[in-house]
Amino acid sequence: MVDINRVMERFLASVERRAFRMAVIATGEKEDALDIVQDAMLGLVKRYAARPEDEWRPLFFKILQNGIRDWGRRRSVRNRCMVWLKGFGKRESGDSTAGRDPVEFFADPKGRCPAERCVISGSMAVLESALGDLPTRQQQAFLLRAWEGLSVAETAIAMGCSAGTVKTLYSRAVHELREVLGEHWP
């Protein structure tokens, strides 16, 4: 008999890091990203654990993307209130590294030389910045299709839209990113 706990734990372990990075790219806040990922894990277990395992991935990312969207709405309401209350809508954060690529501050477990690390972290910082500038839906479509490797149909489930919309969003995202990053990236 298959141990559902072990299967679920293995699945969550396989997606958690990418989910966290997606949430960080979308929110720019590590703590908020952790909350969003945890809520997605709990949501999947609570609502969809009984579904077949091959459906978990799009469903997990659907919950994650909803969490990111909710975070964006809450943030925009908060920013509007801040504008009214303080006369400015600065992004607030106690973390002085907020908005910068967190990877810059971590040790490289592969032991790459500084030049290689510089190229990788530099290209990632540029990519992350370009991704951060994309409209949220395009960003989601790109990350789910290009990075997570979801099919068009799975991405449509995750994003709660039609397959045609996914194709359009993805195509625009790729075009926009290539425009911004240029021919010679990375």
């Binding site: 559902i4 706990n5 679920m8 734990e9 969550l12 372990a13 958690e16 890091r17 990418r18 966290f20 990075r21 590590k30 952790l34 909350d35 990922v37 945890q38 809520d39 894990m41 709990l42 999947l44 277990v45 609570k46 654990a49 690529d101 967190p102 990877v103 501050f105 971590f106 040790a107 490289d108 477990p109 592969k110 990788i120 290209s123 990632m124 990519l127 992350e128 790109f142 990350l143 290009a146 990075w147 790729v174 990113l177 290539r178 990053l181 990236w185 990375p186």
Partner: protein, 122 residues
Amino acid sequence: MNKKRAEEKFIEDAASALDSSVEGIDAGILSSLTRARRRAVDGLNGRGARSRARFRLPLSGLAAGLLLVFTVSVYFNYKGAIRLESYGNIEDMELLASIEQIELLDQLDFYAWLINEKEYKG
């Protein structure tokens, strides 16, 4: 065809850069993710998994409630103390005001003698 190949190469490079960023996630974050995963999996066994974010509101509500109860109890204890103190003061005032009783105590020997006299005569 060349354009399509260039686009594929771009997507591969982007995915590779994103993979590298995942490899560099620090130990603190990984530990938080592991805890979050365990909590979620515990939910399968009905061990009541709760989100960190969802704990915050009830906890702050509980803290505010406790503070309110504490403030109210301190307020009423203070008022009660004042009231008791004031009762004490009133009793003192009554005692001080009852001059007759004090005079009775002063002339206690006289009254004792008077009673003895009455008994002797009677």
